[in-house]
Symmetry: C2
Subunit: 617 residues, 2 copies
Amino acid sequence: MPDGQLRVTFEPHGRAVFVLAGTKVLEAAARAGLTIDTPCGGQGTCGKCRVRLSGSVCAPAAAEREHLSDEELAAGWRLACQASICDACVVEVPDGSLFASQHRILEEARTAEASEVRPAVRKLHVELPEPSLDDETPDLLRLEVAIGPVTAGIDLLRQLGGRLREGGFAGTAVLANGSLIDFEPGDTTGACFGAAFDVGTTTIVGSLVDLTTGREAAIESAMNAQVRFGDDVLSRIKHAGSNEGLDELRATVLGVIGEILQALCRAASVGPEQVYELTFAGNTTMQHLLSGIDPTQLGHVPFVPAFGRSLTIPAAELGIAIHPRAAALIFPVIGGFVGGDTVAGMLATRLVGQDGPALMVDIGTNGEIVLAFDGQVWAASTAAGPAFEGARISAGMRATAGAIEKIVLDSDVQYSVIGDVEPFGLCGSALVDVTAGLLRSGIVAPNGRMCRPDELGESVPEGLRRRVVLGEGGQPAFVLFEDADRGGEAGGGVAVTQKDIRELQLAAGAIRAGIAVLLKQAGLSAGDLRRVLIAGGFGSFIRRSNAQRIGLLPPGLDHERIVYVGNASLSGARWALVSTKARRRAEELARLARHVELSQDANFQMEFAEAMIFPDA
Amino acid sequence: MPDGQLRVTFEPHGRAVFVLAGTKVLEAAARAGLTIDTPCGGQGTCGKCRVRLSGSVCAPAAAEREHLSDEELAAGWRLACQASICDACVVEVPDGSLFASQHRILEEARTAEASEVRPAVRKLHVELPEPSLDDETPDLLRLEVAIGPVTAGIDLLRQLGGRLREGGFAGTAVLANGSLIDFEPGDTTGACFGAAFDVGTTTIVGSLVDLTTGREAAIESAMNAQVRFGDDVLSRIKHAGSNEGLDELRATVLGVIGEILQALCRAASVGPEQVYELTFAGNTTMQHLLSGIDPTQLGHVPFVPAFGRSLTIPAAELGIAIHPRAAALIFPVIGGFVGGDTVAGMLATRLVGQDGPALMVDIGTNGEIVLAFDGQVWAASTAAGPAFEGARISAGMRATAGAIEKIVLDSDVQYSVIGDVEPFGLCGSALVDVTAGLLRSGIVAPNGRMCRPDELGESVPEGLRRRVVLGEGGQPAFVLFEDADRGGEAGGGVAVTQKDIRELQLAAGAIRAGIAVLLKQAGLSAGDLRRVLIAGGFGSFIRRSNAQRIGLLPPGLDHERIVYVGNASLSGARWALVSTKARRRAEELARLARHVELSQDANFQMEFAEAMIFPDA
């Protein structure tokens, strides 16, 4: 972990995140994938977002004194929208403080996960009878009497005799998928970890999991350094076809994964050799690249992946320095552009088998859409572009310290920043906020065109009007702040440009068009959807009203049925790590889904053209 | 194959051997593990050993003209004891010409093998529908629709897409134990081979098997070059403990195996990459050494092997250049000195489950003894020494061209030689013959002492008497021939020395004592045995009467119940190669056997002392 980051664990969900001092509890919870209900919009006026902190707690704000008694404050109760993290702490989130639908989904998932902590890797401490003239049982068979039948690789078998004798025939057997992968001196049953990864085109997130409890021990993320070869999957596929391109891309993504693993181990004080298994959920191209499989077939019609069911690759083959006999599970894929990350998301959200039609939209560099209804599943992918992750946006950045993550436009601009630092860019959720605000204020027209300063109507408040400027090439831009205002040099600052609005318009339009095509295939309309799950690792949650305002979701959708579920891909990868049953379910889900090829769908082209107009307010 | 060797295939058994021109059919059959019945002792007088040759056939001898009509001779019928091999040919052996018990055993085994040609490796030629926009099934899944669910290693998966497209989505899938190990262009289903090995302390024999039919395509043998580190397992174990000793021993045995494989492939015109699996049956130490497992624990009490059940090791890990994803199966072992070769022998001879008590004696550098009765199995090993394989014998050699393989002592010495060459040594079966003859003639006393020339009784024929000389250190020796007699230099020649007799006495005594201990444990006497199977790769068969005369087998045993079954270890390894069911049975047999530790058995020491006296005639 970078210096100065504080560990915050949310209970009873067992999720941990690292944040900078000064981060609001509400923000930290969002980063842990927990949506705390804030009917007042986080103004501290409704008092609904009660949480209880243990450990060091900052002094309460005025709004908190209003809603909480002295006894409650003394017991650590605070409002999530007001209280800031001032030191490592545990935050208890009562069920009533969670956004209702999310509470139900998470609770279901948590119950399922807890009852399913049956990882592929397990440890058994044994004390065996020593050999004697009356008992010359072979070493491995002697161990099998205690642990059941196993296979053992020849490299371990070469060491087993020595290990058994050094430890006086006691020690800890490490089993993975029916194989003996190690025999460790002493009782090491308490130290058994795995790591789950969501491998995105732009962002990679890793989670270290204690396999004995199924709980997360650390979480880390980093930019996918492959972006230097192009920021979308098609440019990566093209580069993979060049001389040594595949090797380069593979080494790059595995390098980042290795660094994340090191950071995870440091954060949780876990030795890399105590990490015995990995799971990887990523889009089909990312999974091909990290496995070293040429993705060329994914670059042209027909789009054919190399594999459908999951793959198991030795971690050593990936050059990842964890336990030398650890394995890596690569998630099953649905099709060329609907990959293991979508399957993992379906797994985590239990999308299939819900009452009534359910939709999942996973927003990353691509937007994957899955519709489940009546035992059938349709899945599609849209090349939404990386706008939601802050890429291709002039002042865009990932949702890390220094990113504006929330923006409110009324008479002027208000924003909040991740971490106790000066802002220097904005992440996806803020881009959605500002675009919705610009649409509402009339600065941006429904067709996506930003007014020039001389075109602004009278109704636009002065606090906003003065921020509209003519930038490069005479294109208008909306200035959030200028460095000069803060004592920095003139000319710097953060603005949202016409081009940024176009990027978002394209991204949101593609997703909305995809949703429309899937609904049509299933013979449904938006109003039929009982549940709409928004997943994505784009940092903070996207506010439902703003998501609808920019046309990310179709009109006619009941606002109450939209739930932000966080990084569902990572959750699914983590679940597969702790449950062999979940792995089998992932295989089933991947094969159940029907891959709808939007790029070849005439309907989609029409819907896309239509969706390029922002909806009316 | 060395130049000048001729391939002889025996039908209907499907066994092939390579012999030099001039080799008697009887000898060739013995090398193929087939004992042809010769009631007259191979003198050509009884006419029982009828066989039919196709291909080039030598002119019939006088004895053959007596017993066979002109029509029969024209049709290729000959007497096995008279006819010589003059070119590559197929020899049909009628059931009536086989030694009765052997016929039954081989017939049972052949029937079982034929009904069990279900190897772990199989090939399927497929023609798949090509991908289209309506069918974007992933490559591996597309193949699985045709061949059923498989796993595939990442290295193959990296190539699969290219292979499928190069072949227009047609080709041959190679499956091994549920894994896809290759996808070959075209229809290669006809070319699917495996190799089985009997890895002895002194001799290594390999058999190339056509996995589509279960038939042997070639057989080759070579000296285990590890002998330069000592000729018994204990000296090898000791050397393995020295600096780099294990690596040296491993590289040495694997080097010989690699050479045998090359010779097998050359002999059968098979490409090494068409060999998809290996099986290895050897004693416990050999199996440890070739697997690269430190055998130190086998060198002292308690004698504990590293593994009991079979091992599977990638052939590439063994550095053997066959198919790059081929696997090697190492046989399950019973105990420290009763290894996979014994299990393979039990498998091949179907020792367990016979009517009444059955005994198998496998004679190699060690003598392994297995007694099966009433669902129970006792197994033991004696350090017989390599005398039966010609080692530690002054003029000893393996049963290859130039070896005297049979000796008759009456008024003088008669012998037969393997191959159409001058003899230059004698193999194990000849040593047994000559020792039995010397005992009968009184030249060697029951206590094993050879008379000096001046001690010979009047009853010793002059033709034998003149052959007894005083050799090195004043010790007597029996001269078989002198080079001077044949125009060579004086002083050379082949003799059997007092020391040679002592070596054989020790070897035979150890085995007989072992048999006595096992019989005692089972509460049986020699007369109770319904079947006694003599196995061993020592070339020609050991003549039953002579084996009893030198005390290799206990007195009181019915002569008719003794059967020579050839290299049963190799047969078992071959069977495991063609039948997964046989593999499972091998595992069961290994675990069923009770390991009797003779070296620590007081009874054995007593029996051994007793068995050191040759039995009375």
